[in-house]
Assembly symmetry: C2
Homo-oligomer: 344 residues x 2
């Protein structure tokens, strides 16, 4: 793995070698102790200057390159962050895994994209060893900014670019979506609609692709775009029912949108699953088990994906320190699983 | 205000003054430029050593002492943090205020007290300019740890110690509790119980004191201790009803506990407010407006208290930089307000 951000900072050993003195002598000079002969001390100081070595003890972290701290940045306003149970579950996994390795979770909250420059300064300021970034929208500038800041990163969710060097953790959104639609087909559904997420997010696009894999030649109006909120799910559901009164199955790209769809179906007097079967995505327990009826859904292990992100980043950091001998690292795509409850 | 953590770090000006050279000359030497005569350069280097000046540009923050970043530490496991709407609201206020001042909010999550040492290392590592600490339990070691780390702090909620130098932001818990009980008395309640919070928290103790101010000579069994959860509220309510079948009013020390009390009253067939009037505390809108019936409660402006904490800390940091000329700062206790809804 090559990553330009891993150019090693000069060590005290490097200073000693350049000055042609022992490490102990270099250390005494750097720490301002007396008792080193002037010519030797001068050579050490010159080596410090030439290498850009940081002598201050308080700046040790800048030398060792380790703060034992990992940033988590969510490219969403903090209001969305606290409202969406998905983030809480993923941060839980990250927190537990980092704690195992005695690394501090440093959550950088923002009010919006206007704050990114400040986040970039913090990431580049030597305060963290790496960053876990949740960047949901294709036009989001946060990952590029983290790269410029020179910190190793792992992205939560497949980014819409691929440069071979970007590591991410995601679930098999496309395969999961295929499973959802096949379950509806197996139940005998003949007119199946899809409530998609915002199509500037790869998770939404991948789930739509999975839907189309299972139903290749479908009327495009059977896809209604939502926004990952309950209200968005309700509106999309209403549109689908208006266009297709014979609709008998719906795959919603998130449990939260499915919960809104269920609400709309109830107000229209449609029974679930008798009239319309509904499948969600995520298996966020606080949502899927509490809808009426409880949701059949595609499970992704959100907390475990948080743990995987943390582990992958820590290995990337170690691997950077190991240089050319480091093992190659790859992005991780986890399997999904159909969870059958009452809604389909 | 005197705070030993504010001993100023040496500046380039101080180096220049000590070496008897201009700032520009000192800068050239420190940055390793050529063109400074050897004796002058030597004097600058000696001054750097003697003062412990940190020359590296990447370590600038260590010199200016400003990272434009503020830590928020919650002395609760992250599960509790995400489950309790109180924290989300307070962090919202903090985030908005810090953003106004272009300071980065750095949320340090923990799994429990075993992680405090690591948090202390981060706080003391020069990564943040100050810390906002939510320490709820009297035996909590986090505030002491932050003090040892040498970062300016402001505490959320009155701590159980007072050393004249500790700054905190809280609401008038005692006065608010008095208002709650007086409201019940004005409604004609004659047998009023109190569901207290855990009594190792000052907020709980202060609210209990307010309850006793309004009802000085009361049977101590009219106070049942809860734990700030809905279930704890239910259990305490059951105990009060069992001991006092003629109970006609309850003041719960939080909306969340009051919601549990309302649930228990419903299962016992007690009408609210006809049989038992209920008053909560906090006015967390997502709780108080959604109970059945909606809760009469004592409002504290949680988001605004978050803003106040942020402002007070930023002033403490500036004030530390200003030294002896700095204006004195004081803790802030905000007023509460009775909000009348259907439950009382």
């Amino acid at each position: 793995m090559s990553d330009p951000s891993f150019a090693p900072r000069p060590t005290l050993e490097a200073v000693a070698a350049r000055a042609g003195v022992s490490r102990a002598t270099a250390s005494r000079v750097v720490n301002g102790s007396e008792g080193v002969r002037a010519p030797l001390a001068e050579r050490v100081k010159r080596a410090v200057d030439e290498l850009g070595y940081v002598p201050n003890q308080a700046a040790r972290a800048l030398v060792t390159r380790r703060n034992d701290a990992i940033a988590v940045v969510v490219a969403e306003p903090e209001t969305r962050f606290f409202a969406d149970p998905f983030f809480a579950q993923q941060v839980r996994g990250i927190s537990r895994e980092l704690t195992l390795y005695d690394n501090q979770l440093v959550l950088l909250l923002t009010e919006g994209a206007a704050d990114y420059e400040r986040v970039g300064r913090y990431l580049g300021g030597g305060h963290v060893d790496g960053a876990l970034i949740f960047s949901l929208h294709d036009d989001d500038t946060l990952p590029a900014l983290a790269r410029r800041a020179g910190v190793p990163t792992v992205i939560g969710g497949r980014p819409d670019w691929s440069d071979g060097d970007t590591l991410y953790v995601d679930c098999d959104n496309r395969g999961g979506a295929r499973d959802a639609v096949r379950h509806l087909l197996n139940l005998g559904c003949r007119r199946i609609g899809h409530i998609a997420g915002p199509l500037d997010q790869t998770a939404s696009v991948d789930r739509l692709d999975g839907f189309r894999d299972a139903l290749p030649d479908i009327d495009p109006r059977l896809v209604a775009e939502g926004d990952f909120t309950p209200d968005g799910g309700s509106r999309a559901m209403a549109r689908l029912l208006d266009d297709f009164p014979d609709l008998d199955g719906v795959f919603a790209a998130s449990d939260v949108m499915a919960s809104g769809a269920l609400r709309l179906l109830r107000t229209r007097g449609c029974r679930v699953p008798e009239d319309v079967a509904v499948v969600g995505f995520d298996d966020i327990v606080s949502v899927a088990e509490w809808t009426d009826p409880p949701l059949t859904t595609i499970r992704q292990d959100i907390e475990e994906m948080g743990r995987m992100m943390a582990r992958l980043l820590l290995r990337r950091i170690e691997s950077g320190a190991a240089g050319a001998d480091a093992p190659a690292l790859s992005s991780i795509v986890t399997r999904t699983q159909l969870v059958v409850r009452a809604s389909a």
